[in-house]
Symmetry: C2
Subunit: 307 residues, 2 copies
């Protein structure tokens, strides 16, 4: 992985995806090298043109000599052939370029949502020397929030005329993107959507440097500016210490999550919940116990036996 | 609560919402009476007319002499005044009817999603003698899945021309509704959407009795039939034992969730994670440890100290 060998990177990601033997040791070994890449998250509703923007950004990154890893978590992404979950990556024009690594990540069966292995995959890419790792997720419901937990900088891609402007604003996802990109800017309503978003941002008194940009991934309009703004922002985040702060916050969340996950597994196996829960339900249904009293006794049992 | 006093019900729900002192005892006391109501979940995208359908269903239930509780988890629901989270219920035409209890449930700040207290609130309503408890949630992303965990029977409300038919189907939420309701059936495309949904259901080889119904909450068209179909279905679910099975499955999920939540809290407080996590992050950043090794040592510390 550290040599940047594509096959090793792919195998390492497969290992973390299937939570295989040696995963933790591998990630611990790579950890010291896993913060050297910029993690760029890109999210937005289906059909907003995220993948086309990613395609353009890859090209620009390559002209700067950067190696780029792409993790596509969007099941309807062109990278995954527009197909449903589990499909392999369809090779794009960059796929023959050894400086570009594209990988689709399986989600856990719901639209949107970030595979739990995505964060690990990003670290593997970083340790393999990819300078920029782009994480593309479909933006539905909670997944925007999840991608925030993954990336150093976030683009939220919207399109005019999708009729969901108001809804998007209500959802509070205005709080999310470092940059809000109105793609398909040749469509009617693009300027209006931009104005509305800016209005909401002002209302929300957003204390961040977020900008609203008009792009057309199809013609390339606005992409150079987007790319430059990202680079500038990364630079200023580095200088101000905000990048380190964001990464520390992310690491905290991850540590907590793993700690709780481990304990979750301990509880399940120690109490043999799978095998015993039917009997517990019977007790409740037959009026022999009530839920919280039952739970308290199981917690005690766990505490007694865990050492 | 058992006397069906509105104020007591409202106070009990407030207690569970704020996770107050005595919550567990209250729920344990009410548990034996908490399965006597039918829990009807209704979900769908914003603007699909869920609240208008609920309004119509309340009226029909009242003509049968049933008492109805409504828990509106949708922040953009008319019941909450179209406002954002935390707003109070706007009184509807049923609000003056003592046989109707309407309550908005605060969500945790994201669009869609079911408040963790919703399930408890439904149990309180059931124990208070409401025959039918309607749980209305906005259908975005994961929340459809969550409402399935709450209700005995689910209506998924769609509207023609929203442009999200394909997306909805991909999302797998076709697996969710017991009844798929195409509302605003006077709109162009209603029949086509119905046909498409039926096609997908056949493709998916759905082994359930789900039907696709056309309604217009505005004119009332189709609502009588919907109401009748629900009643018939409940009857057949009772006879076949499917209702009990679904409730047992739900109770299992709840037990597990509470067990894990309790352990989660134990871990947080025992390890004093809030106070110590900054120091852990420093160790990682300074290269003095690596994540999984660190986590392992914290798990050991928890196990040592928990008794």
């Amino acid at each position: 992985v550290r040599k940047g060998e594509t096959i090793a990177v792919a195998q390492a990601i497969s290992l973390v995806e299937k939570n295989g033997e040696g995963k933790e040791e591998l990630l611990d070994m790579l950890f010291p090298y896993s913060s050297e890449a910029l993690l760029l998250g890109i999210t937005g509703p289906p059909g907003s043109g995220k993948s086309s923007i990613v395609d353009r950004l890859i090209a620009l990154e390559r002209t700067r000599g950067h190696r780029v890893g792409v993790l596509a978590v969007d099941p309807s992404s062109p990278f995954t052939g527009g197909a449903l979950l589990g499909d392999r990556v369809r090779m794009q024009r960059h796929a023959g370029d050894p400086g570009v690594f594209i990988r689709s990540m399986a989600t856990r069966g719901y639209l949107g949502g970030v595979s739990p292995a995505t964060s690990d995959a990003a670290k593997i890419c970083a340790a393999a020397g990819y300078d920029t790792v782009i994480i593309e997720t479909i933006g539905v419901g909670q997944s925007e929030v999840e991608v925030v937990e993954l990336a150093d900088i976030i683009l939220l891609v919207l399109v005019p005329g999708a009729g969901d402007e108001v809804q998007i604003m209500k959802a509070g996802i205005m709080e999310i993107g470092d940059y809000l990109v109105v793609n398909k800017c040749d469509r009617e309503g693009a300027e209006r959507l931009k104005t509305e978003i800016e209005y909401v941002l002002r209302l929300g008194n957003a204390e961040r440097d977020a900008g609203v940009l008009l792009t057309s991934a199809k013609t390339g309009e606005g992409i150079d500016e987007l790319h430059e703004r990202i680079s500038d922002r990364v630079k200023s985040m580095k200088e101000s210490g905000n990048l380190d702060a964001r990464r520390a916050a992310r690491l905290k969340m991850e540590l907590r999550k793993i700690l709780h996950q481990k304990l979750h597994e301990m509880l399940e196996s120690h109490l043999e919940i799978d095998d015993r829960i039917d009997a517990w339900i019977d007790m409740l249904v037959q009026g022999k116990s009530v839920p919280y009293r039952l739970i308290q006794s199981k917690i005690e049992e766990f505490k007694e036996g865990v050492r």
